[in-house]
Symmetry: C2
Subunit: 150 residues, 2 copies
C-alpha cells in the first residue's frame, strides 16, 4: 500500500468517526425517549421493505439474527412493530409497523431531517450530488463484497 492510500484512509477514518459520532449524538438528543439510534435505523428499514423478515434485516445491517430478535422484541413490546407469520412457509416471520409505530417513525424522520438539513446549505448542489453518488458507489462495492454467514 502506498503512502497516499494510507493518508486517505487515515483522513477518512478521522472524519468518518467525527461525523458518525456527531450525528449519533444529535440523534440521541433529538429522538428523545421514543427511539434509539439503532432502533430508528431498523424502523426505517422495515418501513421501506415490504414483507421484511429478520434474516433480511440481519443481512442488511450486517449483524447476527439474534441481535435482530432482541431489537424487534423491544420494539414489539413498545407497540411500534408487530410480527405476522407466513401461512405458506411458517418459518418466515414478517415485520411491520403499527399505526403508532408509523407516527413515531414519521416524527423521528422529521427530526433527523432537521438535524441534517442545515449542513446542506454550505455546499453546492452539484457537489452534494457528486458526494452522495460517490458514497453510494462505495456502498455498492461494499454490498457486493459483503455477506455474513451466521
Amino acid at each position: 500500500m502506498n503512502d497516499k492510500a494510507k493518508q486517505w484512509i487515515d483522513r477518512y477514518l478521522d472524519v468518518y468517526q467525527l461525523v458518525t459520532r456527531r450525528i449519533s449524538a444529535e440523534m440521541r438528543e433529538h429522538l428523545g425517549e421514543d427511539l434509539t439510534n439503532d432502533q430508528f435505523q431498523v424502523v426505517r428499514l422495515i418501513n421501506s421493505m415490504p414483507q421484511c423478515t429478520s434474516s433480511q434485516l440481519a443481512d442488511t445491517l450486517a449483524v447476527g439474527k439474534s441481535s435482530i430478535t432482541a431489537i424487534v422484541n423491544r420494539l414489539v413490546d413498545a407497540g411500534i412493530l408487530y410480527r405476522t407469520r407466513d401461512e405458506a412457509d411458517r418459518r418466515q416471520v414478517y415485520l411491520a409497523l403499527t399505526d403508532y409505530g408509523t407516527s413515531i417513525f414519521e416524527s423521528a424522520q422529521e427530526q433527523v431531517r432537521n438535524i441534517i438539513s442545515p449542513y446542506l446549505k454550505h455546499f453546492e448542489e452539484k457537489d452534494i450530488e457528486m458526494f452522495i453518488s460517490m458514497f453510494e458507489k462505495l456502498g455498492q462495492l461494499m454490498q457486493e463484497s459483503g455477506g455474513r454467514k451466521n
Copy 2:
C-alpha cells in the same frame, strides 16, 4: 425543506448506514479478540493526542465522561493503556498507550487499512480527494456547531 433536500438526506442516511455497518462488521471480524471497534477508535485517538485526557476524549467522541471511564478501565485492565496524574493539577489524568498497547494498535491499524484500501482502486484519485475534502468540510461544520455539556 424542499424535496431535493429530503431526497439527499434519505440517500445519505441509506448509504451512511450501509457503509458504517459494513465497515463495523469487517472490523469486528478482523480486529479479532484484541480490540472492539470503539476501542480501536479510542486507542487511535489517544495515540494521536499527546497528554490526552478523559474530558478531551468525551468531547471528541461526543459521549459522556462516564462512558470514557468505562472504556478506559477495560483497556487499562487489558494492559493496553495506562493513566498518569498531572502533578501540577492533580485533577487531570493523562492517558497513554503501553508498549503492548502500541503493538496491538499498530497491527489493528494495518488490518483496517487492508480492509479499506481495496475499495480505493475503484475510484479516480481526484474523486477520492474531492470526496474526502467534502467529508472533512462537513466534519468541520459539525465540530463547530457541536458541543456537549455533560
